[in-house]
C-alpha cells in the first residue's frame, strides 16, 4: 500500500465510524422510535460481530504449519480462564497476551 492508499484506508475507517455515530441524530427525532428491524439488529448484531472479530484475529493461524496454533489456543485459554476467575477485563487481556508471548518464545 502506498501513502495515498493508506490515507484513503484511514479516512474510510474514520468516515464509517462518524457515519455510524452521527446517523441516528440526523435521522431519528427524540420522540420517534427506530424501526423494529433496526432495533432487533441492535440487540442481535453486537455479539455476532465480536464472535466474528475473534475469528478475524486468528485468520492467519495455520493448524497444519508452524506452531499449529498452539500459542494462540493457549493464549485464548489463559484469557478465558482469567476472565472467568477475576472478571477484570484488563487483567484477562494482560494474562492472555503474556501467556501467548511466553509460549511463542518457547516455540521460536
Amino acid at each position: 500500500m502506498n501513502l495515498t492508499q493508506q490515507i484513503i484506508t484511514i479516512a474510510l475507517c474514520a468516515a464509517a465510524t462518524m457515519f455510524t455515530r452521527f446517523f441516528p441524530f440526523m435521522v431519528f427525532s427524540s420522540d420517534k422510535p427506530a424501526p423494529r428491524f433496526v432495533q432487533y439488529l441492535g440487540k442481535a448484531l453486537p455479539c455476532a460481530i465480536f464472535g466474528m472479530l475473534v475469528i478475524y484475529c486468528l485468520k492467519d493461524v495455520s493448524l497444519l504449519k508452524g506452531s499449529h496454533g498452539i500459542p494462540e489456543g493457549l493464549g485464548i485459554l489463559a484469557t478465558v480462564i482469567t476472565h472467568r476467575l477475576k472478571g477484570n477485563m484488563l487483567l484477562s487481556i494482560l494474562c492472555g497476551t503474556v501467556c501467548y508471548m511466553i509460549v511463542l518464545h518457547l516455540f521460536a
Binding site: F19, L41, G42, A44, L53, I55, Y56, I76, M101
Partner: protein, 232 residues
C-alpha cells in the same frame, strides 16, 4: 465555575477508563510500531477514528493489499453498534448546544456507557459533564496510542507477540457480550459464520461473505432469536 464543577464531577467517572485507555492505547501504539509504522500512524488513527477495535483492524488493513470496498464494509460492520448508542442518546444530547457535534464524534463504547448511566447531580451542568467525560476519554486514548508508538521498540524487552492483545481484547469483549445475552445464539452465529467462511473463502476474502451470512442468518431466525433471548 460551571465548567470547573462539571470537570470535577466528571473526572472520577473516567478513572477506570484512564487506566484501560492508557494501557490499551499504549499496547495499540506498540502494536503499530511493531508492525513497522511510525508513531504518526497510531496518533492519527486514534485521533480521527477514535474507536479502539476498528483501529487495531485498521492496522491490519494497512498491512494488507489496498481494498477500499472491504475496508468501508468492515469498518461499518465493526462500528454499526454506534447506531444504537446514538438512538439511546437522542434525548440526553438534545439540549447541549454547540458541544453536541463533539459529543457525538467522541461517542466510543466507554464514553457512551458513562454518559448513558451516570447519575449527574442536579447542580452540575449535564452538557459540560458529558463534554468532559468525552474529552478526557479522548485524550487518554490519543495520548496512550501516541506514547506507545513513540516508545515502541525502545522498550527494554522483546515485544514479539504483543499483537495478541487484540485477540485477547476481542475474546474478553465477546465473553462480556455473551454474558449479557440470555442464550449464546447470536455469538455462535458470528463465530460459526466466520469460521465456515474462513474455511471456504480463505484468509483474504472471507470477511464480506461472513458479514452477509451473519445478516442473513439473523434475519432468517429473527423470530426464534427474539423469543429465546426475550428481546422486546
Amino acid at each position: 465555575m460551571m465548567k470547573t464543577k462539571a470537570l470535577k464531577t466528571a473526572f472520577p467517572y473516567t478513572i477506570p477508563i484512564m487506566t484501560s485507555f492508557l494501557v490499551l492505547g499504549l499496547a495499540y501504539g506498540i502494536y503499530m510500531n511493531a508492525s513497522g509504522f511510525s508513531f504518526v500512524y497510531p496518533m492519527v488513527t486514534a485521533a480521527v477514528i477514535f474507536g479502539g477495535s476498528l483501529e487495531f483492524v485498521t492496522g491490519k488493513m494497512l498491512l494488507s493489499p489496498f481494498s477500499p470496498v472491504q475496508t468501508l464494509v468492515v469498518a461499518l460492520m465493526i462500528q454499526i453498534r454506534h447506531l444504537f448508542y446514538g438512538i439511546s442518546m437522542l434525548d440526553r444530547y438534545k439540549d447541549v448546544g454547540r458541544k453536541k457535534s463533539f459529543l457525538i464524534f467522541g461517542m466510543c463504547d466507554e464514553t457512551f456507557s458513562i454518559n448513558y448511566t451516570a447519575d449527574i447531580p442536579e447542580d452540575v451542568d449535564k452538557g459540560w459533564f458529558y463534554f468532559f467525560v468525552t474529552l478526557l476519554n479522548y485524550l487518554y486514548w490519543v495520548a496512550g496510542a501516541t506514547l506507545g508508538g513513540i516508545i515502541g521498540d525502545h522498550l527494554p524487552f522483546d515485544t514479539t507477540g504483543i499483537d495478541f492483545v487484540m485477540t485477547a481484547m476481542f475474546t474478553v469483549i465477546f465473553m462480556e457480550q455473551l454474558r449479557k445475552e440470555k442464550k449464546p445464539d447470536t455469538g455462535l452465529i458470528g463465530l460459526g459464520c466466520a469460521a465456515l467462511c474462513l474455511m471456504l473463502f480463505g484468509a483474504d476474502h472471507f470477511m464480506i461473505p461472513t458479514m452477509i451470512a451473519i445478516l442473513a442468518v439473523l434475519t432468517f431466525f429473527k423470530k426464534p432469536i427474539e423469543r429465546r433471548n426475550a428481546y422486546q
